[in-house]
């Protein structure tokens, strides 16, 4: 048996604007890149273009920070307008210290700045919020891909999150459709016939991280085709990335 996985960055996507049918555009770009989409493929898409297609872009110049946002911002040295947006996207603040604002988003993800990307360039005040329901975004893009190409690959929506204890960001799945998010390896045995201690693998997160390997400093390709994991791809949309959220009672780090 040959265990081989291929990661293919998809070039040629246009700049994405609100109301674009992202699945249709990505299906076209995959074809234009000379690739034939297969139902066992996984299409990994950067959060940023999904947010743009869904109109989740805000202009900081139009944000009026409230009192709480001004207080939090002042303690952290952040832009109070950005903090206003972050708090509006959050249901709890996990940490607010040393210039870092880590929250639980309304969707249940724990990350810095509620996943809001701000440009570093002075004068540019547009920011993108996370999609409101990234699993629903993934399902919709999957249906669009099916309509455009006749094939419904799995879809993952990926974003770069930092982690406690380790430097650097890694891409994780914030939404998915048609992919098994957690690979249950309980019952797998090693050569000696012993059950392996590892129980569950965050498959969708590993797929997101792998797809980011096709990006470079020069090319921020927002879509990647992942081939060779058809055993994790299903015809039904499946439970989505939401099952990757660790329930609060099990979490020692909130």
């Amino acid at each position: 048996m040959d265990w081989r996985v291929e990661l293919i960055g998809i070039p040629g996507l246009p700049e994405i604007a609100a109301h674009d049918r992202l699945g249709t555009l990505i299906g076209g770009a995959i074809g234009a890149a000379g690739e034939q989409l297969d139902a066992g493929d996984i299409v990994v898409i950067s959060q940023k273009v999904v947010s743009k297609a869904e109109g989740r872009v805000r202009d900081l110049a139009l944000v009026e920070p409230g009192r709480r946002a001004r207080e939090v911002a002042s303690g952290l040295g952040k832009d109070p307008r950005l903090v206003e947006l972050i708090l509006g996207e959050s249901r709890a603040v996990v940490r607010a210290e040393r210039g870092v604002l880590i929250v639980e988003t309304r969707g249940g993800w724990i990350c810095a700045n509620a996943g809001i990307d701000a440009s570093n360039v002075p004068g540019d005040l547009s920011v993108t919020l996370l999609p409101e329901d990234p699993d629903a975004s993934a399902r919709r893009i999957r249906v669009e891909l099916d309509a455009a190409t006749g094939v419904a690959p799995a879809v993952v929506i990926a974003d770069s999150f930092g982690r406690p204890w380790r430097l650097g960001q890694t891409d994780v799945a914030i939404g998915c459709a048609g992919l098994t998010p957690l690979d249950d390896r309980r019952g797998r045995r090693d050569r000696a016939g012993r059950e392996l201690a590892v129980t569950e693998i965050a498959l969708a997160d590993q797929v997101a991280a792998a797809a980011d390997l096709t990006r470079t400093k020069e090319s921020g390709l927002p879509a990647c085709l992942v081939r060779g994991l058809e055993r994790f791809v299903s015809a039904d949309h499946g439970p989505g990335a939401r099952v990757l959220r660790r329930p609060e009672p099990d979490d020692l780090f909130r």
Copy 2:
């Protein structure tokens, strides 16, 4: 430009024992699999076989738990002999509650059980400790690969760690040689010419996570060849995975 990365699980490694020259064995398995090793390749190896080759296997039946281990074990419902080994491998306990023991290892990694793998099968009492210095292990295996094949690919030693906030484990790099561990994307600009907010990507961790995609319930292949990332592979061994450890003063979750 074509952004394509290939992940190839390497079959055919024998059961590994203490004093095996892992690099030589893996070089042979790569050749036997019909692959020609290239200096731009990355070889990702599971911690478990590295530990076995380094004799980092212990028999719980021979461990005499001390008083502290017995206390901690009793609070957590763990085997006191396993806790004795965990504490011996640790320089600090980060959390010990709800059956979970998260420590900072002597090498500076924060993970459950100091990375010690225990079998789940009653009666089997052998466990593997992490390599003492996984960056040194990666360098040594790289030199062995070079001696065996005439080519020195980058080497990553990977282990499965859990994370706060998210369910499931992902593979991360605990050692590496010849690979840029952190990809500095500062200065990268998007289509609009704006600098991207993401600054550093934990490249070695993403490579480890990608390599795990070639493993399945049925085949726990301990080595994977990663092709297409030669831009991150260097002739010198580089700083190692130790630069991925977040310094304690920057860490909000200890």
